[in-house]
Symmetry: C3
């Protein structure tokens, strides 16, 4: 998430009550998780094993729970609980604004777009031209929807990321990472009924141009789906996955988070994808493997009784 | 889909800009996909390998992309892109009518039926007597619902079919086949919360009398479910399947399109059904096989280490 | 379900038209299924093989389809169809009250709670303080929600139990067991978008304090989920399961009804749980087994061709 205007690092330090170390003249331009940071961003780190990655990342300002050497030209914001400080910044710069009506006055809706009854359109939403938004759809604040997009009934665009920090020492064990990312749906996309597409934690969840979703598709926070993909009903994809162009996922496929499915890959129905898949191939099963070899495996299983017959007399 | 009144084939030719070959006196009575056509229907074909099937089908008027011999008593409408012409006809004869209110004045709702708040009921919907439609349900235009039907909250009846034509040479690769079919829900059916039942492309999706659905069931376009079926939560069924009477599908079962599950079949939880199943048996696994033999297979898999022990010393 | 005030057993007998046997002075304090009964409750039994369990249960008043010996201090209500009589009592004491507005005047909503547009809140619902209920959520009558609860858009709380009695001799084969239980969501719970949590048949479905659900989670009637659990997207759990504290279920896991998953258990993505699992372990596959041994099994399957090579020359 980028700020509307740069904010002095001294102001950031004061908002979260941190000790400021390093370059005190810096201006922060946004807030981001470590894997999304660009220069000017504030990020946070609270595990020593990630310190190096965080300090060497593009982030200019790092919220950290130990006073370490500050890299040249950067600033550290030192305090006990970087996670909570980060959440505080998200809430400060992107506060939740309760709706005052079902379609916000701050939403911008393009010419020729039809909004059916019982739709919710949040604050600062942008919807392009010639779209059709069916009944009972929910579009959370800050979502961006292109031209010629169709969204079937009951779908939810931009719900919060499912992202929690475990606090083993507390009675209520999970702290929520507030999301400040968005959902971006490009032109010519169709989303089926009863889908849920979560916003990114700090970056954007993107559905690429011309992609078509059947019903009850779940897309996790920050996942990027390429152009001209086809997902059949009840597919679920975890957070921060990258699904490249022209990928086809058949019904009830499950895809884990933080992985890549390459261009033109096809994953057959009910398969599970726990790790990245090369493009251009057809996959099947759990864990998903090339369909041809997986089908051979199923045939081999059926031959176990025959193998047993051959060897049962061996001692 | 049947027209309200027959339409001259010459008018059809003029709407889509086709060359008319054969019997120019014909009256068209409806539009249908090839597997649903009845005499009087217009259908389309755009692959040479399907020409014979299409020309010999019950369709009276065929939109086709090559000037071939016209069967006696039929008419051909010849043009370059039959798919787009067919879509044009669907849009012409069943245009999308944006809603002007949440419950359309053209909907007919029977005596004793309760409609809870935040429900959407589209144009030309018919709902029978003594039904209970819970909040946030969406019922698209032209859906037909019988008597004593209960629909739990958030369910979507009659969303568009997930049916696209690939155009490999275009930047936006998928063209939508506009649906003109309906959803028909017979008497005494109960549909759980968060279900999605798509309309047929040209025919009807039907849920048979007395059938009961748990939550989050997905039913694809044109699928016909028989009487007194029970589907547990998160079952998904593709398009144009036929599920006969008294079939029981347990939770998270996935069923592919264009197949038949016979009367009284039972499919155990999480199974996947890629092809037709005979009635009267219990199935399990992916691909679903008779549960008894599939369970034996699982037991055999557990014996592989024992087999290995027996043979590991062989050279 | 407990009555607001005790009801004389003679009045119960008269409502359902039963012959009253045993102690005619009893006061009934509630209605319950056999596995939930406490003293004072009315329960029912209609299969001879369950007579003993029912008569010896804590239930004080038993609706039964045969005149058997009445245990001391209890009462029997004898008639032909105990199931229908039970349903009649549920409808009598907890009648469905059609909504007159989207947020019932009988609902109690705590200070600081934000209700977004297009939400339905039924009769007698109680919602605590500082909750955030996103758009298009449905909360059925009698649901109870604690403090600091977040419910994402499109979720359905308290839909009817999926519970039917088969009547093989009727054209409409399934009779619905009307639910009179509730959903109780404790403090600090977050429910994702598009979830469905059914009410209990007679007892309560409970989501324990601090538990977090991702999107499209289905929870069956009467299931109890412990504290600080984490369920990833598209998990489905049948009725009357007990999921203890700190259980983690990954995406698309399916859990059967009437079982226990012990404290701190983890079930990996797409696994199926047909029966109870001990706490403190990691599970995988269908049927879910300890992940370590299941992964070894997958490795063994890949060695079948090698085994075949070793033995194919044996006669």
């Amino acid at each position: 998430m980028k700020f509307e205007a740069p904010v002095a690092v001294t102001e950031i330090a004061s908002i979260i009550g941190a000790e400021l170390v390093g370059n005190t003249q810096l201006m922060a331009t946004g807030i981001n998780e470590i894997h999304k940071v660009t220069p000017g961003d504030i990020s946070f780190v609270d595990f020593e094993k990630y310190y190096a990655a965080s300090l060497n990342s593009a982030a200019t300002i790092i919220i950290i729970n130990k006073k370490v050497d500050c890299p040249d030209g950067k600033a550290l914001l030192v305090l006990d609980d970087p996670f909570s400080a980060y959440v505080k910044l998200v809430k400060h710069f992107r506060p939740f604004e309760p709706a005052t009506k079902a379609i916000s006055d701050t939403a911008v809706i393009g010419e020729g777009t039809v909004i059916q009854p019982n739709v919710f359109i949040g604050n600062h939403v942008r919807i392009g031209r010639n779209c059709l938004i069916h009944p009972n759809v929910t579009i959370y604040d800050h979502s961006v929807i292109g031209d010629n997009v169709i969204i079937q009934a009951g779908t939810v665009i931009g719900a919060d990321a499912f992202y929690f920090k475990k606090r083993a020492d507390r009675e209520v064990m999970y702290d929520k990472l507030e999301s400040c990312g968005r959902v971006i749906i490009e032109d010519d996309v169709e989303i089926g009924a009863g889908c849920t597409i979560d916003k990114g934690v700090s970056g954007d969840t993107i559905i690429g141009r011309g992609t078509k979703f059947d019903n009850m598709i779940h897309i996790g926070h920050g996942t990027v789906v390429g152009k001209n993909c086809l997902f059949a009903a009840q597919v679920g994809i975890g957070g921060k996955a990258l699904i490249e162009d022209n990928v086809i996922l058949w019904g009830q496929v499950g895809v884990s988070k933080d992985l890549v499915i390459g261009k033109n890959a096809v994953v057959l129905a009910q398969s599970g994808v726990p790790s990245s898949l090369e493009g251009g191939k057809v996959y099947f099963g759990y864990p998903a493997e090339e369909a041809r070899s997986k089908k051979k495996e199923l045939a081999w299983i059926k031959r176990i009784p025959e193998i047993w017959e051959k060897i049962k007399h061996l001692s």
